[in-house]
């Protein structure tokens, strides 16, 4: 069955690439789900419902993957034989690791400081994270769409994953500060 064996991009009728038209993706997702969702087959046969479940599951997975830049980049690497292996591969450039450690230390320091004093240094750290993230995304766009260097990209994906993890921890801290 064609749909079940297609890539996430093919399923939504989108051209493969890191750059993505978000609106086109959202619209395609809604349209495909409207066509394949099991709820559409209330009067259908068991076979139809089973296939519907598989396709709806696939559509959800495709949407989840394509709408997140990190997941999308990782997926593109996988499609081209350069699986970033984010769970097992921890190789990282030394400079990058140093920056990560610095950020961690700064966050730990902020957590122990008076909430009134945290504002300014927090803003600085937040700025650094946002900048690092934007830089990595730009490099990924270049590696994936222009250079088509997928092994290079897979290394960038691993770095981005670290940045995103720290980003989440920072957001949790920001929320706590806000609600105190």
């Amino acid at each position: 069955m064609k749909a079940l064996n297609s890539s996430h991009f093919e399923l939504f009728g989108l051209s493969e690439g890191f750059a993505i038209d978000r609106e086109a993706l959202d619209s395609a997702f809604r349209r495909v789900q409207s066509a394949v969702h099991p709820d559409r087959f209330g009067a259908g046969t068991d076979t139809e419902r089973r296939i519907a479940m598989q396709l709806a599951t696939q559509a959800n997975e495709a949407y989840r993957t394509l709408r997140d830049p990190l997941l999308r980049a990782a997926y593109l690497c996988e499609l081209h034989g350069a699986d970033p292996q984010v769970h097992s591969n921890t190789a990282m450039p030394g400079e990058f690791l140093l920056t990560q450690m610095e950020w961690r230390e700064q966050l730990e320091h902020l957590e122990s400081v008076e909430s009134g004093e945290a504002g300014a240094p927090l803003a600085v750290l937040r700025g650094q994270i946002d900048q690092a993230r934007a830089a990595l995304l730009a490099k990924l766009a270049d590696a994936l769409d222009r250079q088509r260097e997928f092994f290079l990209a897979s290394g960038l994906v691993r770095q981005l994953m670290f940045v995103e993890r720290f980003n989440e921890d920072l957001s949790v801290f920001e929320d706590r500060l806000e609600s105190s």
């Binding site: 069955m1 046969t45 139809e48 997975e61």
Partner: protein, 639 residues
């Protein structure tokens, strides 16, 4: 054929058959049943014109039972046999049940707590089934026919055990469950379709015993749940309880030891100062007072106890807010968490829909209005909106398609699913707020030579330790082909379906052998217990079991025949002549056996047709997807 109803000519644009389906709001405090009639959703009334059925069951001295208003009347004088808010006990063990501080006699039973009544030990599932049965009968009488099925709503924050318990209750009541629908989603559908709304909406649903808050995006008829949260053990009942505790403390009725986890109520019951009947009477009066304070700034809390003493205290709206502030804050914290999960701000929300009788409290409306910077939407009756939404979905799932049915619900799982790993830790498998249906695969291997089986423990929750999460089930995989330790590659696929229920399949990759799975749910009733209950219940006493099975299979055959014919009419061009002939043959064979009463033959016929139309179904789906992406609606007639 009892399932099909002929509607008047000109009444509907569709072919003349309408499948009868209902939506049921099985609430903690009140239950309702609704259906879509002539294209309009409506709540069905009983013979006296009442729409709400109090979720109360009383087991009487004469062996019969009362459900609803009648049962409620004698709650205070018959506290152990009058079961109120059974929903709070569904899928719960003894420890959780005790926290409710209800006047019942609990029995510790494996799987789910039971209640000791004069009619024997009753499971909350049985109690809920009695309520569902009343609603089923009401609907059948009102609609004048047999039902295809029902959509039953559950709190979005209900875990797997609570959902399974709800499904079991429906089975006992003789209802086919078309879908377990999350209550906030049901409300959003009713509201959204009523108003043609678009944008981001929050549903704040405070019922009698549960609190749900969901954020949805409505776009061109697709209702997408973005994030959901709540507390399945927090509701209007807890506000009542707070009043009772306040009253006990104010009157110095009990010397309260401030020990952690204990409550004034426990002390009062334990020391004999209060009887179970007294507690029930105090709770009933607390509810009355709470409701009165929604419209008046002051009320008098007055209740007569069994020893003829009377507790009389003035209670102001202000004091009430004070003693329940902590409860309100819990709802607000859950709401903030949903906003965080959705990565959206309160200012991006187009509207907040209030659901559930407890949202009539002024402090709730004020707090919600303040958080979102705009007054909440209350134009739909907060008591009815969930049932109406359920009926709309039931109508769709039953297969009553009509031209303006281009809407779809995309819901999410409320709690993360994980598996237990070494050291009692949880490895997260599927994150909360993942859109369903969702599947994830994980590879495992063996640690002993020749190991033929393994157990996987699945839990629900957000914590790191298994002990802090809710155990869902243990899956035992058997039939792993003998191999050296670590050589086997067992791919386990966890699938959550559109009802939010989990199923597990496994395959050893190098040999391709599928492992058989045995599910041991951590809570709930076993198949044997259900079978026993079914045997002793009203429904199966009516019909012979065998006859029932035959009937079900015949219905299934009819559905398949009709669905196949409909599919051929629209997409027959996808088949070569020979393929078409093969399918026609299978259909005719099934029609032939269906006319008889050979159960096995009908079942075989159904299976053959299913297998024989597999490829056809695949091609139809491909065409659907292509059409959808090309921007045309699936139902457009193509030349």
């Amino acid at each position: 054929m009892a399932l099909l109803q002929i509607s008047e000519p000109g009444m509907s644009p569709e072919p003349h058959q309408r499948r009868l389906a209902i939506g049921i709001d099985l609430g903690t405090t009140n239950s309702l049943v609704a259906t879509v009639r002539h294209g309009v959703p409506e709540v069905l009334a009983d013979e006296e014109g009442h729409l709400l059925l109090p979720s109360v069951v009383r087991y009487r001295e004469d062996g019969r039972l009362d459900v609803g208003e009648e049962a409620m009347r004698l709650a205070a004088v018959d506290p152990h046999n009058t079961i109120v808010s059974a929903k709070r006990l569904m899928g719960r063990g003894l420890e959780d049940a005790r926290k409710l501080r209800s006047p019942y006699e609990f029995v510790d039973a494996p799987g789910m707590v039971k209640l000791r009544t004069r009619a024997g030990e009753k499971s909350p599932v049985e109690v809920s089934a009695e309520i569902l049965r009343v609603l089923r009968v009401r609907a059948e009488q009102s609609l004048g026919g047999e039902l295809v099925g029902a959509v039953i709503t559950v709190p979005a924050y209900f875990d797997d055990a609570q959902r399974q318990a709800t499904k079991d209750a429906a089975r006992l009541a003789g209802l086919e469950v078309l879908r377990l629908l999350n209550e906030p989603t049901a409300a959003a559908v009713a509201y959204g379709l009523d108003n043609g709304a678009e944008g981001l909406f929050v549903v704040y649903d405070l019922g009698g015993g549960t609190f749900d808050v969901s954020m949805l995006r409505l776009t061109k008829g697709v209702f997408e749940v973005i994030a959901t949260g709540g507390d399945s053990a927090l509701g209007g009942d807890d506000f009542d309880r707070a009043i009772v505790e306040w009253a006990l403390e104010e009157t110095g009725t009990v010397e309260h030891q401030q020990t952690a986890g204990s409550s004034v109520i426990d002390s009062a019951l334990g020391s004999g100062v209060l009887t179970s009947g007294d507690l029930r009477a105090m709770l009933v009066e607390a509810r009355r007072a709470k409701e009165a304070l929604s419209d008046h700034p002051l009320t008098t809390y007055s209740v007569r106890l069994s020893d003829a003493t009377r507790v009389t205290l003035p209670l102001s709206q202000q004091r009430f807010e004070q003693i329940t502030r902590a409860l309100l804050d819990r709802t607000l914290n859950a709401t903030r968490r949903v906003l965080r999960d959705a990565k959206l701000g309160a200012d991006q929300v187009s509207g907040v829909v209030l659901v559930g009788g407890a949202t009539r409290m002024p402090q709730v409306r004020a707090a919600v209005g303040q958080m979102f910077g705009k007054p909440p939407l209350t134009d739909l009756d907060p008591d009815k909106v969930v049932a109406l939404g359920a009926s709309i979905q039931a109508n769709l799932l039953a297969g009553n398609r009509s031209a303006d049915d281009d809407w779809l619900l995309l819901d999410v799982i409320p709690l993360s699913l994980g598996i237990e790993t070494m050291g009692g830790l949880v490895e997260r498998l599927i994150a909360r707020n993942s859109t369903i249906p969702v599947a994830r695969a994980q590879e495992f291997t063996t640690f002993k030579d020749g190991q033929g089986a393994m157990a996987i423990h699945v839990v629900q929750g957000e914590r790191e330790l298994v002990a802090d999460c809710r155990s869902l089930a243990r899956f035992e995989l058997r039939g792993i082909p003998p191999m050296a330790a670590g050589a086997a590659r067992i791919r386990v696929t966890f699938q959550v379906d559109a009802d939010g229920l989990l199923s597990v399949t496994a395959r050893e990759l190098s040999s391709g052998v599928g492992a058989s799975i045995q599910v041991k749910p951590s809570y709930g009733l076993s198949d044997d217990e259900i079978a026993t209950m079914l045997q002793s219940s009203f429904v199966s006493a009516e019909q012979d079991m065998k006859l029932r099975a035959l009937r079900e299979q015949q219905v299934e055959a009819d559905r398949m025949i009709e669905a196949t014919r409909a599919a051929l009419a629209v997409d027959g061009d996808l088949l070569h002549t020979a393929e078409r002939q093969d399918i026609d043959t299978l259909v005719n064979r099934l029609i032939a056996v269906r006319a008889g009463d050979d159960l096995a033959a009908i079942r075989a016929g159904v299976d053959s047709l299913a297998r024989g139309t597999e490829i056809f179904a695949g091609r139809r789906m491909d065409r659907s997807v292509a059409k959808a992406l090309a921007g045309r609606k699936v139902d457009d007639v193509a030349p």
